[in-house]
Symmetry: C2
Subunit: 367 residues, 2 copies
């Protein structure tokens, strides 16, 4: 996804609505409520001023980059809102375990609250924010970051909660780190804040996906402009994401449960307009994982499955989806490194428990 | 419980069988298999020499004492044996979080593997072992230590597993520390090793229960002597513990489940000899928690409920109890500080989910 505007050099209050809107869509339904994240980021910028943004290519070799964000079930996070002190606590708790001072903060994922918490953390700590993230979208588990593909370890990592409980974890691999951090998160009430993946500058430059903060901002801006100009927001989002409109319809069923610290569930919709008489089924684990049209896979992880309100173009999160809502579903290609054999091992359909092989959304698209 | 022999000044190989036997009984069925603990301690002493023992009263003001041990379900621990490197790892992981070097090691509890792991840890680290523990028996949860009564915090604490995963935890209170450490332990496979309750010398002197390592050694020695001299081991154990023989009988039913990281269950026995025609029921959470004779409470936490093989006098752990075994059940008074209102709030029947008030075993004893 290439931004049509110049990349961000700082994040100020005026940028937040577009970044929140764009990252809510890129978050594929997950990453937590963007509205809550936006409030946290705005408050931090009001208090501490705008956040300087460093292009990924400009991160120096001697940098020490960490990613920060929220872990848990978005369904819980909307009620148990992370405090900004939690984010800085997670960073402060990690400092003694690192060989050098932290120099930069980056986003784990571009998605809802998790594109906003790093902005808040950067504002409060005075550290610059890297224009990059570890997913190019949102994924539910902490090993699902592109730096994992080049052997960067998530640990040492910290998980802290709103009560002041803090864990420093050293796990033998990133999948184990996910299991252990998730167990603590569940016990902390299914919502907590982390700092992880300490990376040297060269590791960050190679491991992270560049310019995704700018891309989210650009996407959000294009969507807002389309809406203001009474153009089709869904078509504009498709164009920006190089994606395909898979479906328009009305939500006819939704099942949701908080299981193992995740918001899991499924939703069904019946088609409207050109899709009249057809049915689409979505399954999610915090994020939308697979979309089936008439029982046939139309898009799946790692490709993006995005849902928007068909009238307003507002991204619909998995916890925000409601019976009767009229929505559009977009499928869009993931970052190319997720489509490699190594990438698919980490975030392909099989890693979410499905037995079908991955096929790119552009190949699956209905003729 | 007052030892009839001089207190230990060191622990050598020759002391291990008696300490293991005595602490298996004091462990009230919990604390893990004493045989496994004994092997770990023997190996460490063979490699590193005997362990110097410091009397609790001799711990200096500027000491920094920690307790070490195993956390999890004894049913799992008998198959997933803690490695001694795990214990030293748990200590080493805690060092950077402490303001000063660790000077002494103590037992969390006098019970099976948890009276032996500290010996192994002391041998391997070269630190002296304090002749004391935090329970005077064994209890299943990590907030159930006498130092808790004077406000000593369990954190910072470490939990490590056999794979090399390590957690450093700072929790807001000891009950939360228990919940979070337990969640990690379950995810680590229901058996892990910890270091916790960093205490200054004065805190240790006031907070720990003195001379319990010597008492366990003395108890074990008296039981062995009684057996060698064909005297009644059960009667000797009763005398040593100032306890009462509650029952002799045959195990007729046993239910066990590993639930929430604990070995929970119940056992029933029908009386033999003087107890013919009566029934005793035991309930346990790692340790024996309550004994009922004919449905009436005969002993309960915090008092000790101990089970021995009626023929050999060997202590019977909760995971070692078998259908058809002929056993004797002893009730014995807990350390007086457990019988105070504060002590009962922490380890009384209500803290184990029972709604009956605590009554001392000597008052409950059948006339």
């Amino acid at each position: 996804m290439t931004p049509t505007h110049a990349p961000l050099t700082r994040v100020d209050l005026e940028h937040l609505p577009d970044i929140a809107r764009g990252s809510a869509l890129l978050g594929t339904g997950g990453g937590g409520d963007p509205y809550i994240g936006r409030l946290l980021a705005a408050r931090a910028i009001e208090e501490h001023g705008p956040v300087p943004v460093t292009a990924l290519a400009d991160v120096p070799d001697d940098a020490l980059v960490v990613v920060v964000g929220g872990i848990g079930a978005p369904t819980v996070m909307v009620e148990k809102i992370p405090a900004v002190t939690e984010v800085t606590q997670a960073i402060d708790r990690l400092r003694p375990a690192l060989p050098r001072p932290i120099t930069h903060i980056a986003c784990t994922e571009i998605g809802g609250v998790n594109s906003m918490l790093p902005i808040a953390a950067a504002a409060r700590t005075g550290l610059p924010l890297v224009d990059a993230d570890g997913m190019g979208r949102a994924f539910p588990e902490l090993q699902m970051l592109t730096p994992s593909l080049m052997g960067v370890t998530a640990c040492p990592l910290t998980v802290v909660d709103d009560k002041g409980n803090a864990m420093l974890l050293d796990a033998v691999d990133n999948l184990t780190a996910e299991r252990l951090a998730r167990a603590i998160t569940v016990e902390m009430g299914c919502s907590a804040t982390y700092t992880m993946y300490p990376m040297r500058g060269a590791q960050a430059r190679e491991g992270l996906i560049p310019a995704t903060l700018s891309a989210a901002h650009d996407l959000g801006r294009r969507m807002a402009a389309a809406r203001a100009e009474h153009r089709d927001v869904v078509a504009e989002a498709c164009a920006a994401l190089a994606g395909l409109e898979l479906f328009r319809g009305k939500v006819t069923a939704i099942e949701r449960a908080t299981v193992g610290g995740f918001a899991r569930g499924r939703a069904s919709m019946e088609g409207t307009g050109a899709h009249q008489g057809r049915r689409l089924d979505l399954e999610f684990q915090n994020e939308y994982v697979v979309a089936r049209v008439e029982g046939r896979v139309a898009a799946s992880v790692p490709d993006l499955v995005c849902v928007l309100d068909a009238e307003t173009g507002t991204p619909v999160t998995t916890e925000g989806m409601r019976f009767g809502a009229r929505v559009a579903v977009i499928g869009a290609p993931a970052d190319p490194r997720w489509r490699t054999p190594e990438g698919l091992r980490l975030v392909g359909p099989a890693s979410f428990g499905y037995d079908f092989p991955f096929r790119p959304v552009e190949e699956l698209a209905p003729r």
